[in-house]
């Protein structure tokens, strides 16, 4: 006769075993049986999957009210899933922090204010505005410019170790867009001081027969991959990601930038 494992192993043991797998496996195991389901909700599991400095990061978050509530009122399980869906704003409102659900690794988005955008403070060329669909208080809107140079950097030491990260520019076009169908832009990512990095050249607003590299995100913005890098121990200094078009012959208009999203490869 077949005996049920759950008669042999107490639920705590099952939880411990599950904590040695991965977040995806744990979620999947909820479909196995009622005991597995219950075991999978244990705080010991999800506490393990949270990054070790998670609470430190939250306590440094900008919006004191909700962030303090996050740490005090949520169980580890709730906190894990909350951070996967609701990135919190940190660092004076310039960055957001969240988790990749499948792996528990850290994800960051650098807000437009944190990027180095050439001519951004000249009202003739760029405008800063509030839009409700952005997680940040301001996004940068390109009025017109010839020299387009958008750059963001992130310290590898705040990222999860042993992870390949991909950087995406999060943007939209406004109704007055111009120039991006005429001239391709250069997308570039490099790691640390000595890395030359890789550059891709694509049309951000391709016409009919030209491949489209951008795709729509769940939050309604578009994103285009700038490049990727591998973070081993976090001691490689900064990763630099950029988008440029600086031939100086083509006028460009109508690009709205929310920020640069940096997340583990193969995550949503």
């Amino acid at each position: 006769m077949r005996t049920d494992i759950t008669n042999i192993l107490p639920e705590e043991c099952i939880s411990y075993i599950l904590s040695l797998t991965s977040p995806t496996d744990v979620c999947r195991s909820k479909l196995v049986s009622p005991v597995f389901r219950s075991a999978a909700d244990s705080d010991t599991i999800w506490g393990k999957f949270l990054p070790s400095d998670c609470y430190d990061i939250i306590s440094n978050a900008s919006s004191s009210s909700s962030s303090k509530l996050l740490t005090s009122s949520m169980s580890k399980t709730q906190l894990y899933f909350h951070l996967c869906k609701n990135p919190i704003i940190i660092d004076n409102g310039t960055m957001s922090f969240g988790l990749d659900k499948a792996t528990g690794k850290k994800c960051y988005m650098l807000g437009a204010r944190r990027l180095s955008i050439a001519w951004a403070n000249t009202p003739r060329y760029w405008r800063w505005k509030r839009v409700p669909e952005s997680r940040f208080s301001e996004v940068a809107e390109l009025k017109e410019v010839w020299w387009l140079d958008v750059k963001g950097t992130i310290e590898t030491k705040i990222l999860s170790p042993n992870t390949t990260y991909v950087a995406y520019l999060v943007y939209k076009f406004s109704s007055s867009r111009y120039g991006f169908e005429k001239k391709p832009v250069d997308l570039h990512v490099e790691l640390g001081e000595s890395d030359a990095g890789r550059t891709f050249r694509i049309f951000l607003d391709p016409s009919a027969n030209i491949p489209q590299f951008s795709r729509e995100r769940e939050d309604g913005w578009m994103e285009v991959k700038l490049g990727e890098f591998f973070n081993e121990h976090g001691d490689d200094g900064k990763a630099t990601c950029s988008l440029r078009e600086v031939d100086n012959y083509t006028l460009k208009k109508g690009l709205i930038i929310e920020g640069i999203d940096i997340r583990p490869k193969d995550s949503r």
């Binding site: 075993i17 479909l31 839009v131 208080s137 309604g220």
Partner: protein, 414 residues
């Protein structure tokens, strides 16, 4: 086992045997240094002086049967020898755990009851490797588990575990309410002309929200809550979010902030300030309906906490512009996601019995629409709502046949 522990042991116990008894009654003696490797046995010997003779054999936990005990003792016998290298130990371990899954489970359980952590780790990791990457079906196969989750449980979204039991209860109550509201709505007399423009727009909004076209929005963050508080403060129009229980109390709306796990109560008063009596009435109604005391507590708590808020929410300067809090807009885009995740909470077994599927679908569609509209034209809508009492004609939000939100210039309402 530490050196300190060894020092405590009486000399005559050295190089002797410990007597152990398993749950089936059989007794055996084991070399002391081997048995003492298990913390549980060690504790029994040292703290309670057991195990020194057959009559005082240590009773092992039920999960340790003789076969498992034998395996565990093999493990202890090997590892308690201090001189072994890490490589040797690893090699032993790898061979040791080669057994069928069932025995591995039994061994884990037995080791756990004896508090032998290194062995628990070893076996647990082995089992984790077995589970990793497998589908639920495969896992059931391996562990011989029956497929006894209900269909609904399988369909429930796996990601969202921010299930506050109070919110779930409130959702169920809400579902019951919706049915009642459906009846009531048919009887309700719709007054087009009213003296107080403010009231009418409030009522219309509310009946839209409270009626069979109820909306369910979940997962509001604290920032949204603050924004809404501010809106409510400066206008006489209520904004609904989440669950609305207010049947006879059209001026009350409840909404849980899922991560706070509590429900905030927003009320809007007309200038007469009827709210207090309504609040009591509501409590009574709640108590009547609920057999569950925990729900009572939940509602009571909610009434206590936001009383400060209630004072604030008087219909004050209508049309005053609300400056949305800077942080408040940041999480709007979450609303839509959260709606879709939490929508399925309605698929709770209990609720399904009470709502007919057509209504549920309708509500789901309305929620989608509401979310979309919420996300796209929030600032414009707020402006509109706020200027209700002012220059413009009141705008009525209603649902047309296919569930999309539509504004009617006239005051016809479904």
């Amino acid at each position: 086992m530490s050196k300190v522990d060894m020092a405590v042991i009486k000399p005559e116990m050295m190089k002797s045997y410990i007597w152990l008894q398993t749950a089936d009654g059989s007794i055996q003696q084991v070399e002391q240094e081997v048995a003492m490797f298990c913390p549980m046995i060690c504790h029994e010997v040292i703290q309670k002086g057991m195990g020194s003779s057959k009559n005082y054999a240590i009773s092992l936990p039920q999960r340790v049967n003789p076969a498992m005990l034998s395996l565990i003792l093999d493990y202890c016998r090997f590892h308690q020898v201090p001189g072994r290298s890490n490589k040797e130990r690893k090699s032993f371990d790898e061979k040791f755990i080669r057994m069928d899954t069932k025995r591995l489970c039994e061994l884990t359980s037995a080791a756990d009851s004896l508090q032998l952590k290194p062995l628990v780790d070893l076996t647990s990791r082995a089992l984790a490797r077995i589970i990793e990457g497998k589908s639920p079906e495969e896992i059931r196969e391996i562990f011989h588990l029956p497929d006894d989750l209900t269909e609904e449980e399988k369909l429930e979204p796996l990601k969202n575990t921010t299930d506050d039991p109070r919110i779930r209860l409130l959702n169920r109550l809400y579902a019951k309410k919706r049915k009642e509201l459906k009846e009531r709505q048919k009887l309700k007399n719709i007054e087009v002309e009213e003296e107080r423009v403010d009231d009418r727009s409030v009522d219309d909004l509310l009946s839209f929200i409270n009626g069979d076209n109820g909306v369910l929005i979940d997962g509001f963050t604290d920032e949204i809550a603050l924004l809404l508080e501010r809106i409510v403060k400066f206008s006489s129009v209520v904004f609904a979010s989440h669950v609305s229980f207010s049947t006879s109390m059209p001026k009350y709306l409840l909404f849980p902030c899922s991560h706070l796990g509590e429900v905030r109560e927003f009320c809007f008063a007309d200038s007469k300030g009827i709210k207090n009596s309504k609040s009591k009435k509501k409590n009574r109604r709640r108590k009547d309906q609920q057999k569950n005391t925990s729900a009572n507590e939940a509602i009571k708590n909610h009434n206590k906490e936001p009383n400060g808020l209630n004072q604030v929410c008087h219909s004050a300067e209508v049309g005053q512009k609300v400056r949305a809090g800077v942080g408040a807009t940041s999480n709007l885009h979450d609303v839509k996601d959260d709606i879709f995740d939490n929508k399925n909470e309605l698929d709770d077994g209990d609720i399904d019995d009470e709502i007919d599927p057509a209504l549920k679908e309708k509500i789901d569609r309305e929620v989608e629409d509401f979310a979309r509209r919420l996300n796209s034209d929030w600032p414009e809508r707020m402006q509109e709502i706020l200027s209700f009492g002012h220059e413009r004609k009141p705008v009525h939000f209603s649902l047309n046949g296919n569930g999309s939100l539509r504004r009617y210039a006239n005051s016809e309402q479904r």
